[in-house]
């Protein structure tokens, strides 16, 4: 059985939400999928979600509360932390549960796709359901040049890794680890 927890510390930046996930998942060995989500309540911010078996999620929920006491956590009937942050946490959990949204930071098999990986292997060895290019069709034996960084997103029930290509044999992930800052700021 799989459950989903949601959490929100009203983070403005995805990097901070990812750090919270890393801290909370540090000791977890069971297979989980962890996402960041842009949610709307009380205003637009980065919330997080984790899916996995209920026992593991109970441990993760505790770890989140320890790592970030200002975070709200929702998991089934369990609701903790600041009341005004629970709606955002629930928004994230619902999107993850319904697979309509969520940017996966961690998912089963992610450790197996560190470099150049054939699309077939990405699909066979990881939780990614589909590789999609913004440039249309690509070769059946195409390779994804992951560079050790992929952030597939849930969309319409599937975990989709978005890529682009000029050479149909070499796919480049849409999201990069180091987006160019805006005049030295992280806007």
């Amino acid at each position: 059985m799989t459950a989903v927890l949601g959490a929100s510390a009203l983070h403005a930046r995805a990097a901070d939400a990812e750090r919270l996930l890393r801290e909370a998942l540090g000791a977890v060995r069971a297979p989980v999928t962890a996402c960041t989500h842009l949610v709307d309540t009380p205003w637009r911010h980065e919330a997080v979600s984790v899916s996995g078996d209920p026992a593991t999620l109970a441990v993760v929920a505790d770890a989140i509360r320890r790592a970030e006491p200002a975070a709200a956590v929702v998991l089934g009937d369990r609701e903790e932390g600041p009341v005004d942050r629970r709606a955002g946490a629930r928004e994230a959990a619902t999107a993850h549960h319904e697979r309509t949204g969520g940017r996966a930071v961690h998912f089963p098999g992610i450790e197996l796709i560190g470099g150049d990986v054939a699309v077939g292997d990405v699909l066979a060895r990881t939780a990614v359901d589909r590789v999609e290019s913004s440039h249309g069709e690509f070769a059946a034996d195409a390779v994804v040049q992951t560079g050790g960084f992929v952030r597939p997103r849930y969309r319409d029930g599937e975990l989709v890794l978005l890529v682009g290509h000029t050479d149909p044999h070499r796919l480049v992930p849409w999201e990069v680890p180091n987006p160019t800052p805006c005049c030295g700021e992280d806007h």
Binding site: A14, L38, D40, W43, R44, D167, P179, T180
Partner: protein, 580 residues
């Protein structure tokens, strides 16, 4: 394939890889050998007394019409006649350029102005970033350098401006006509209305500061409008920069700027700068073209799709999407224009690096960096071009002058290109069979119901190698038509259903001047037409489907988007209104 961008030789500070002068500025090229567009530019400058010899050969065109006295009456009349016929010369420029007075800048003003002139620009705007140091120190200290650059480059108009941190939004160019108050007005504006200086950058949707900060942006534009009316400066304009880069400019903000001060806020960058950022090579692996390599954040407008965060053939998603954000603004029947600029901070393959501060000095204390010095070798990791090397904004002006360029921008008499794709573009829309010149880019043509119109597009293809050493080859011209449906009911809409590529012309292999005609019969509803052309080397169906745009620009790929292999021009629209 090797990519030799001509930067593999060492060069010194004073004249790094100076390109040959543009043909119209090259006295060794006689008038008879110039292209029509080049001759037009030479004539304009000659008439303004800026081409040395030949200052006598002009007639009245370009003389100051306001000149008093009976001797000038004839000249003024001749001027007016020419002006009425909209005998325009298109002046190439760039409204988005940084210097050592930006916290991420490098070059001296004189470096940028000299390069701009060498690359054939007629006008440029120095737009250092708004910041505390700039508002206190830089905005004043840059001015003597701008004045010196004006003197050193007499055939180039050098404006002082600012890259405004638009409160709650992205950046925008703000600039003014030169005059006694150019510095004081810019300083007052920056101090009061820059998002970074005023602590008003936050535009989080639904956030506690957003409404207040969005209102500050509108107030800033009204401030400029008031001072323009009062004559504090002869003119002032704002154009939003890299509008879709990080999803920060929501549709309702863009509409609010336009509606608050339509004479100031006139458009946005159709194509951002940093066009060299994704040339394959070291340090560029994960760069997007234009540095469009971010995703949505908590500051972004939530409804913008992931597709909005990358460029298409080097153009911003808002402009590149036929039927998208730009068209949704035009469908309202209101002016909103596009431009294309370098955003030049530090140039791909240049050898210049920042000089060292003296002890105790910093950007914060000085408001600028020391002058650049040679680092001894080309720097391949940079992502920009010098002004005029790749991106150009061509503004139709009847005379050569600061306020004339600004008036042309405001009027939307503008087309833009990349990589010197074409040399000249003239577009006329007129009632069929009438001996009238009709309307040109940015214009409004009013016709009776049932009128028959003729669109005439005259293109002078590139005749000389561009700054990549190739003669660009135009292969296709698209005419895009959109229905004008009135004010948008939803201020956050970024699409319009009634815009599509109406006609495409295959012009591959055509030599000499290209003239294209389209007849539009039985006009019954208001609409607009705009143009797009390409070298045709990269394309894919448009984001709103092949039925809307069968051969649109292709999405640019991270770290693998050579800008010289993917050239486009875009024009601003001509509107048609139908009398009841």
């Amino acid at each position: 394939m090797a990519h030799d961008h001509g930067h593999d030789h060492p060069h010194d500070h004073s004249h790094d890889h100076a390109p040959p002068p543009p043909e119209w500025a090259d006295p060794t090229v006689p008038d008879t050998e110039l292209s029509p567009r080049a001759l037009s530019r030479r004539t304009l400058l000659r008439n303004a007394g800026l081409m040395g010899a030949g200052a006598t050969a002009l007639g009245a065109f370009g003389a100051t019409p306001a000149a008093a006295g009976p001797a000038d009456a004839e000249a003024a009349e001749a001027y007016r006649r020419r002006h009425d016929q909209e005998r325009l010369t298109f002046l190439a420029g760039d409204h988005h350029i940084h210097t050592q007075f930006s916290p991420d800048g490098l070059y001296r003003v004189e470096d940028q102005a000299r390069h701009a002139a060498q690359y054939g620009l007629d006008w440029l705007v120095i737009t250092d970033h708004g910041s505390n140091a700039h508002a206190k120190i830089g905005v004043e200290n840059v001015n003597p350098h701008i004045r010196a650059a004006r003197a050193a480059n007499p055939r180039t108009l050098v404006f002082q401006g600012l890259e405004w941190n638009i409160p709650a939004a992205e950046h925008g160019t703000v600039f003014v006509a030169p005059g006694a108050n150019e510095v004081s007005l810019l300083k007052q504006f920056e101090t009061g209305y820059d998002g970074a200086v005023a602590g008003a950058t936050d535009g989080t949707p639904g956030g506690p500061n957003t409404a207040k900060n969005e209102a500050l942006a509108v107030a800033g534009l009204r401030f400029l409008a008031e001072h323009r009316r009062a004559g504090t400066v002869a003119d002032a304009l704002m154009l939003a920069n890299h509008p879709a880069r990080k999803g920060l400019d929501s549709p309702h903000e863009i509409r609010a700027w336009r509606d608050a001060a339509p004479e100031i806020a006139v458009g946005f960058e159709g194509a951002p700068g940093h066009q060299a950022a994704a040339i394959p090579g070291p340090g560029h692996q994960t760069n997007g073209r234009g540095y469009y390599d971010s995703g949505p954040s908590a500051q972004s407008f939530p409804a913008y799709p992931l597709a909005s965060y990358v460029t298409y053939g080097g153009f911003d998603w808002m402009t590149a999407t036929v039927g998208g954000m730009w068209d949704s603004l035009l469908a309202e029947g209101r002016p909103w224009w596009i431009s294309a600029n370098s955003d030049s901070h530090s140039v791909y393959g240049d050898d210049q690096v920042r000089g060292a501060f003296a002890p105790g000095h910093s950007f914060d204390t000085d408001g600028q960096y020391p002058d650049p010095v040679s680092g001894g070798a080309p720097v391949p990791t940079q992502g920009d071009f010098f002004p005029g090397c790749y991106s150009r904004t061509h503004v139709g002006a009847a005379r050569y002058g600061y306020t004339d360029v600004m008036a042309g921008l405001r009027a939307g008499r503008v087309w833009v290109d990349h990589g010197q794709l074409i040399d000249g573009l003239d577009v006329r829309l007129a009632e069929h069979g009438r001996d009238e010149r009709g309307a040109t880019l940015g214009g409004f043509l009013r016709v009776r119901r049932g009128a028959r119109l003729r669109l005439t597009v005259t293109i002078d293809p590139a005749r000389r190698p561009n700054y990549h050493g190739e003669v660009p080859k135009l292969t296709r011209v698209d005419v895009i038509r959109g229905e004008v449906t009135g004010p948008a009911a939803d201020r956050d809409t970024f699409a319009t259903p009634d815009t599509r590529v109406a006609t495409s012309f295959d012009v591959a292999g055509r030599r000499g001047r290209i003239v294209l005609n389209i007849d539009l019969r039985d006009v019954s509803r208001p609409f607009y037409l705009r143009l797009r052309g390409t070298d045709g080397r990269r394309s894919q169906p448009g984001l709103l489907g092949a039925r809307v745009d069968p051969h649109g620009p292709a999405a640019d790929v991270r770290g693998n988007a050579d800008p010289w292999q993917d050239l486009w021009f875009y024009s601003n629209p001509i509107f048609v209104d139908v009398r009841r």
